[in-house]
């Protein structure tokens, strides 16, 4: 029988301080393009990791949040099961360098297989996947695969009601308040969860103004 504390550690409910001392090479972190977010994530997105972005509704601003990272990529990115068709003229307008590879697969098992294959390939930039739900063991597997091949990946899911632990390195939750996108950090590397803060994603969106009717 394991120590009760071990069980808590296993569930991810206990944060252990020693991780903070862990030194990371500068190229291990990829700037998210948002200064505030970078500060909260301890420098940016960790390479070789899967990050979760929870959205209240699709098209809420999640792509704008990831755009700075996507724009940095010189290799094509894979979009796995996006909620609808990516529109290359619009992405091209945002100066994306390579058209995304669009993979649509209904069967969850096959989609996860494809995700893992993509993480193992050196030919891809970032992998972005949309899943309605994804179980803990699948996430752990993906995280291991990403860590092994030093790939950066994002999973976009609806808001999760349960507080069940997942092996993601960072878990963000997006919402919209006071005409600004709010980003809450539910889980991060070496740190407590953080409350929502506004993220100024407007610079990647058309200007908002009220039209005189």
């Amino acid at each position: 029988m394991a120590h009760p504390l071990q069980e808590l550690v296993h569930k991810g409910w206990v944060w252990q301080g020693r991780e903070a001392a862990e030194q990371l090479a500068p190229d291990q972190l990829v700037s998210s393009g948002w200064a505030e977010l970078d500060r909260r994530l301890g420098g940016g997105w960790l390479r070789g990791a899967v990050h979760e972005v929870q959205v209240q509704h699709h098209f809420q601003g999640e792509l704008a949040l990831l755009l700075p990272v996507l724009l940095e990529q010189t290799k094509p990115c894979l979009w796995l099961n996006p909620p609808c068709q990516p529109y290359w003229p619009g992405l091209h307008y945002q100066h994306l360098k390579q058209a995304p590879l669009w993979l649509q697969e209904k069967d969850q098992k096959q989609a996860l297989w494809a995700f893992e294959q993509a993480l193992q390939s050196k030919a891809l930039g970032v992998v972005v996947a949309w899943f309605d739900s994804i179980d803990a063991s699948a996430v752990r597997r993906l995280q291991q695969s990403a860590a092994k091949h030093q790939q950066l990946a994002f999973v976009i899911t609806p808001w999760q009601q349960t507080t069940e632990a997942r092996a993601y390195v960072n878990r963000l939750q997006l919402s919209w308040a006071a005409e600004q996108l709010q980003v809450a950090v539910l889980k991060r590397r070496a740190g407590w969860p953080l409350p929502a803060f506004p993220c100024n994603i407007e610079r990647h969106l058309p200007e908002r103004r009220r039209l005189s009717a």
Binding site: F59, Y87, W88, Y93, S121, E179, P206, E207
Partner: protein
């Protein structure tokens, strides 16, 4: 080194049985097995027997009844000469990797012109090593004999003499001991020679040729000239086919593709050898499962990038087959490939600029490999990449390609703030739920191909603060009142 030009003859007395055994598991190979023929009205007799059968007392030429009495659990199959010839052709193709000039002597022999290969492999010993190495890869029983004429090599090999001497005298001596029954002369001439007391080729060679000619006719003259190496008839050299077609007998009925993977590996190995000789690669092949009732199941396998290694091809074929089901059991499996392309040279460069290009090409290849793997398992349409198109209509401004695109995006004339997402079909909406922010942008196009449209596009916010791309369909200029609005895309 002897100056005599030498030929080698490869005799494979059990080719068909060896081929069948190589497809079986170790345990199956231990079972006694024979191939039998029936010569018309006569009894059926054993023509090929495996080691287990021979150990059990079965001899070649034995009546099938006798053999099955000796070994009650003996497996018997029919000998098929046409099929053995096919196998021989495959063997020739396999050896063609090392030896350019091969003549087929169906159903069980190959004549190899080795004289010119000495320089390449370092003498006859080198050629022999190379041949043995190549034959070790496939489990075939064989006899190789040398000869100073094709006929001599053939007679020696078929009489089971493994003589690879380079000395003419040694070969002549071995030839002298070959019985007349194995002289390859027509049966009636063999009988005539035996009647005058000539039992071996030695005494025959000692006789004066002119007298033999007078007695046995012109054909005997030509035979004697070949036996002495004075006449070297031209050979029809084997030319490998430009398309790949191979067929394997599965011996038992196989009910699923998974069980076919083992024979498939052999076929792909053949294909690799085929491609290696010609320095080609393949992007598409066809697998055909043949059923008992002559029907066929056809599976087309396409690769996203040209391949030639068995390992790579097998991996992709395997992924593709996981999606397939074999409805009826298969008896035979065949593999066909016709579309070949020359291999692209892959070499690095010392110049920095070219190194970059090389790295890029390498990346491109890796990407194609990944796409190929994904498409193999998920279907060809599962992975796509967009291309820009010159069209004002939003749904036609891009099209999807099933393979990874090589080129960088080409700039279009207009660079307009288009959404990042496009709905596959525009959705009717109630415009009162939306807050218009920017617009209108009128798009009027397509009058030339009957799909004309007049739309006023706006950027608008919905109640979740999401920015959508909506439009008003204008039927005509005047009716602005009860118009229909549609959602067509999303920003962010």
């Amino acid at each position: 080194m002897s100056q005599t030009k030498l030929w080698w003859y490869l005799h494979v007395p059990q080719l068909l049985l060896d081929e069948q055994l190589s497809l079986q598991s170790k345990a199956q190979q231990q079972q006694p097995q024979v191939l039998c023929t029936s010569d018309g009205q006569h009894r059926r007799q054993v023509v090929q027997a495996n080691r287990a059968a021979v150990a059990g007392g079965v001899r070649l030429g034995m009546a099938e009844v006798t053999a099955s009495t000796l070994l009650p659990d003996l497996q018997q199959r029919d000998y098929n000469e046409a099929r053995e010839t096919q196998v021989l052709r495959r063997l020739a193709q396999w050896l063609h990797q090392d030896i350019a000039q091969i003549a087929l002597y169906p159903p069980q022999g190959l004549l190899l012109a080795v004289h010119d290969l000495q320089r390449m492999y370092g003498g006859y010993a080198g050629v022999q090593r190379q041949l043995q190495r190549r034959l070790r890869g496939i489990s075939v029983q064989y006899v190789v004999a040398a000869g100073y004429s094709p006929l001599v090599a053939r007679i020696l090999a078929q009489s089971g003499k493994n003589v690879l001497s380079t000395e003419k005298a040694a070969l002549q001596q071995a030839l002298g001991q070959v019985p007349i029954t194995q002289s390859l002369l027509p049966p009636h001439q063999q009988q005539q020679l035996q009647d005058v007391g000539i039992e071996q080729l030695g005494p025959l060679l000692a006789l004066p040729v002119a007298e033999l000619g007078a007695r046995f006719g012109r054909s005997m003259l030509s035979y004697m000239a070949q036996l002495k190496g004075e006449l070297l008839p031209p050979q029809q050299w084997y030319r490998p086919p430009l398309r790949f077609r191979e067929r394997l007998d599965l011996l038992t009925e196989v009910a699923s593709w998974q069980q076919l993977l083992f024979p498939l590996r052999r076929l792909l190995q053949q294909l690799e050898a085929f491609l290696q000789v010609r320095q080609l690669s393949v992007t598409e092949l066809a697998l055909i499962a043949h059923h008992r009732d002559k029907r066929q199941t056809f599976v087309r396998v396409a690769f996203a990038l040209p391949l030639w290694r068995q390992r790579d091809m097998l991996q992709l074929v395997q992924l593709q087959l996981e999606r397939q089901q074999l409805k009826t059991p298969a008896l035979e499996l065949s593999l066909r490939a016709e579309d070949f392309s020359a291999r692209e040279a892959q070499h690095g460069s010392w110049l920095p600029a070219q190194q970059d290009a090389h790295a890029q090409r390498n990346e491109q290849r890796q990407l194609q490999a990944l796409v190929g793997k994904l498409q193999a398992r998920l279907g060809e349409q599962a992975v796509q990449q967009a291309q820009l198109a010159q069209d004002w209509r939003p749904e036609r401004a891009q099209y999807w390609q099933a393979s990874a695109v090589d080129e960088q995006p080409t700039a279009t004339g207009a660079n307009l703030p288009r959404p990042l997402w496009l709905l596959p079909e525009a959705e009717p909406i109630n415009v009162s739920d939306w807050q218009l922010q920017w617009g209108p942008e009128r798009l009027q196009s397509g009058w030339w191909d009957g799909q004309s449209m007049v739309r006023d596009y706006f950027i608008a916010l919905d109640r979740w603060q999401r920015q959508g791309w909506i439009y008003r369909a204008c039927v005509n200029e005047q009716s602005a009142s009860n118009e229909q609005w549609y959602l067509h895309g999303w920003y962010s």
